[in-house]
């Protein structure tokens, strides 16, 4: 059962990776066409720069082939594990398998063509072939989306979704190419020369993709969500809402980049363009990756319009975030264990108040750990509180708390032994890993902040926050009790969104501080603001946990 759950999860996680790979392929081609202008006779971009762009296109094609192939295999594993047999003919006959296989084959073709382009980047016929392969690759996506299973407006929804994905791909792929060009510009004069030109040229492509995103996204949201209640009271709607919020943050970074590009055009001012814009683009990448994973998760959620009677009201959702006293007492082990058989039964299911209170206590106490850590982290910005830089130790305390509280029936508090429970039960195994992660994160971040020889470790925290945020966003609860589980999910989605903000804020803080060491441009202040926003977001995560109350179901 655990392996089935894991396979299911990986299947959905692969959806996000497929979108990223697809965006790298499609965005790179558009980048080559409009920024590098490879179809123009005697194109201006240097061969080395074009080769670099092709390398990213090829990497995207390889990633797409691998992830698409894995998805076909994982889906088969899920089928075999859920059904207890593997009906191969029926699986091969599905439109999902066929469209996925076509994408896989087209990706393999693109790997080959990109390989040729790396040898001869000025060969128009190879570029034409790449474009010819990418057109069906984009179209095949129509049979891999929500719309394909709909009864009404099926074709229109399929077309709109494909255009929506295409626009997102142009944006993300272009941003990835910008980053790649900037890294290259640190060693290559050709790339350095192109950098400001690319920023200004990308503005038009970026704005066009955002317009197309909105033109296709609005009717899709209207069709699938349909109402304000649907937007705020269902898993699907809340993910759409979160996606909109993240896009607004990404647009903010895009505006800053665009403004720096315009300043260069008007006054040939390169200061911000060389030392701040690259880091804004890095932070934008964090946000866009999160957005693409949300897009992938949306495809596995029932659209809000289909579950009107299971939609939570706005007041029910706000109640989940309402201020209240945290639960500081917990039911006993005996009370918890007594309610478990009824709680997990299919027939004669009896909700367990003890299980709910147990969970509330765990969440609320974790909230206390996080809010205190965030408050101490805020103090660490003042030189008067040197000791406050030890705030990551809170993660170690949190891990010890989780070790004792996660699984009441196992060692050290319950009768089942440590090894027996860890490797004999998937859920316990997951909790043990989560505990270990919190402990290790605390130790490593502590080292990174206090030991100058371990400065490289500083980047671990934002990277892992981004990953954790993405997992929270994709770890959507929506099964047997859609409404109750959505109410839980609403808190997890909010925490996922905040975790992505923690990641991009902290990343920006670290990167702008480095820039300041090199250029002395006052990036530290902006970086500190970004870092403080990150800590504020962590504080808000703590507050959500502090007032968490699980619905009884």
């Amino acid at each position: 059962m655990y392996m089935q759950g894991l396979a299911n999860f990986i299947d959905d996680f692969l959806g996000g990776l497929i979108l990223i790979s697809y965006a790298l392929v499609v965005g790179s081609l558009l980048w080559s066409a409009f920024i590098l202008r490879v179809w123009s006779p005697g194109f201006a971009a240097h061969e080395s720069v074009v080769r670099r762009a092709v390398a990213l296109l090829r990497a995207g094609a390889i990633a797409l082939a691998v992830t698409q192939g894995l998805k076909l295999v994982i889906k088969a594993v899920v089928l075999a594990s859920v059904l207890g047999e593997f009906p191969a003919d029926a699986y091969i006959g599905t439109v999902q398998f066929q469209a996925g296989l076509i994408r896989l084959l087209l990706s393999l073709g693109l790997i080959f063509v990109a390989g040729q382009l790396q040898q001869t980047p000025d060969k128009p016929s190879s570029w034409n072939l790449a474009a010819i392969l990418i057109v069906p690759l984009v179209i095949a996506g129509a049979w891999l989306v929500h719309g394909v299973g709909r009864f009404e407006d099926r074709e229109q929804l399929m077309i709109l979704t494909v255009l929506h994905q295409f626009a997102a791909a142009v944006w993300f792929g272009g941003v990835a190419q910008l980053l790649s060009l900037w890294y290259m510009s640190r060693q290559s004069q050709e790339a350095k020369t192109l950098w400001p030109v690319a920023i200004t040229r990308f503005a038009l492509l970026g704005v066009s993709s955002v317009v197309l995103l909105l033109l296709t996204g609005l009717p899709l949201a209207w069709t699938y969500v349909g109402s304000w209640d649907g937007l705020l009271g269902t898993g699907y709607g809340s993910l759409v809402f979160t996606k909109i919020l993240l896009l607004m943050v990404a647009l903010g970074f895009a505006y800053l980049n665009n403004r720096a590009g315009r300043l260069w055009l008007e006054r040939r001012q390169t200061e911000g363009l060389d030392n701040k814009v690259p880091h804004y683009i890095e932070a934008e990448t964090f946000i866009l990756v999160g957005t693409l994973f949300i897009a992938a998760t949306l495809s596995s959620q029932p659209p809000s319009v289909d579950i009107k009677e299971l939609t939570a009201t706005v007041s029910e959702v706000t109640e989940m975030f309402a201020p209240r006293m945290p639960r500081l007492t917990s039911p006993t082990h005996e009370q918890l264990l007594a309610g478990e058989p009824g709680r997990v039964a299919v027939v004669d299911k009896v909700p367990s108040p003890a299980a709910t209170e147990w969970s509330d206590y765990n969440h609320n106490m974790s909230g206390i750990f996080l809010t205190v850590m965030a408050l101490v982290a805020m103090l660490s910005y003042s030189k008067r509180f040197e000791w406050a830089r030890y705030w990551p130790l809170g993660f170690v305390g949190l891990s010890i708390f989780l070790f004792f509280r996660s699984d009441a029936e196992t060692w050290p508090l319950g009768p089942i032994g440590f090894w027996e429970s860890t490797f004999g039960n998937g859920e316990v195994f997951q909790h043990r890993i989560a505990t270990l992660l919190a402990f290790a994160l605390g130790v490593l971040e502590m080292r990174a902040r206090t030991n100058r020889n371990a400065r490289q470790l500083r980047y671990l925290f934002p990277i892992l926050c981004a990953f954790g945020g993405i997992l929270l966003l994709t770890h959507a609860h929506a099964e047997f009790e859609l409404k109750s589980e959505y109410l839980i999910q609403s808190t997890h989605t909010a925490m996922g969104l905040l975790a992505v903000i923690v990641a991009s804020g902290r990343w920006l803080e670290l990167r702008l501080a480095e820039t300041d060491e090199r250029y002395a441009v006052g990036g530290v202040l902006e970086g500190k603001i970004a870092g403080f926003i990150a800590i504020l977001a962590m504080f808000l995560i703590g507050l959500i946990l502090l007032v968490y109350r699980e619905p009884l179901f």
């Binding site: 655990y2 759950g5 894991l6 299911n8 999860f9 959905d12 996680f13 089928l79 859920v82 059904l83 029926a90 699986y91 599905t94 439109v95 999902q96 891999l144 989306v145 394909v148 299973g149 709909r150 009864f151 640190r186 495809s299 596995s300 959620q301 029932p302 659209p303 289909d306 299919v346 027939v347 004669d348 998937g426 859920e427 195994f429 997951q430 890993i433 989560a434 270990l436 992660l437 290790a440 490593l444 490289q456 470790l457 980047y459 671990l460 990277i463 892992l464 990953f467 954790g468 997992l471 929270l472 994709t474 770890h475 959507a476 929506a478 099964e479 047997f480 859609l482 589980e485 990167r511």
Partner: protein, 129 residues
């Protein structure tokens, strides 16, 4: 030569952490194809009579890749026959004659867009009047 932003060792640790997080969050309930209408709400099952329960899903369902089980007291599972109905999204389930009591239908369906859904519909068979 510029140093890479993130060293190889940090990348490795991040990768290890990420893999662990993937395992830690691994269990993910699924739901896309949801039941929008069920005959059980309008026509409760009569005791000791075989019945066809009709479910309507919000999405097309791949029947050869779907299974439905009748669950009786003590969570005992019995597979039941399913067939496609005439209307879009309609699935007909052959439920055998049942004694009065509590039951559930557990379905595992593969939607046309490639997502699996497992769900439970609980119902009660009343004593004959």
């Amino acid at each position: 030569m510029h140093q890479p932003i993130v060293s190889r060792r940090t990348k490795l640790v991040a990768l290890l952490f990420s893999a662990c997080m993937l395992l830690a969050y691994g269990e993910r309930p699924w739901a896309h194809a949801v039941v929008t209408e069920s005959s059980l709400t309008k026509n409760p099952i009569q005791p000791n009579h075989a019945t066809t329960v009709v479910l309507f899903f919000n999405s097309n369902v791949e029947l050869p890749l779907s299974r439905v089980f009748l669950v009786s007291k003590g969570d005992v599972y019995h597979p039941v026959q399913i067939e496609k109905g005439k209307k879009q999204g309609e699935v007909r389930i052959q439920v055998p004659a049942l004694d009065p009591g509590d039951y559930a239908l557990k379905y595992k369906v593969f939607a046309a867009d490639g997502h699996f859904t497992e769900n439970v519909i609980r119902f009660h068979v009343s004593e004959p009047r």
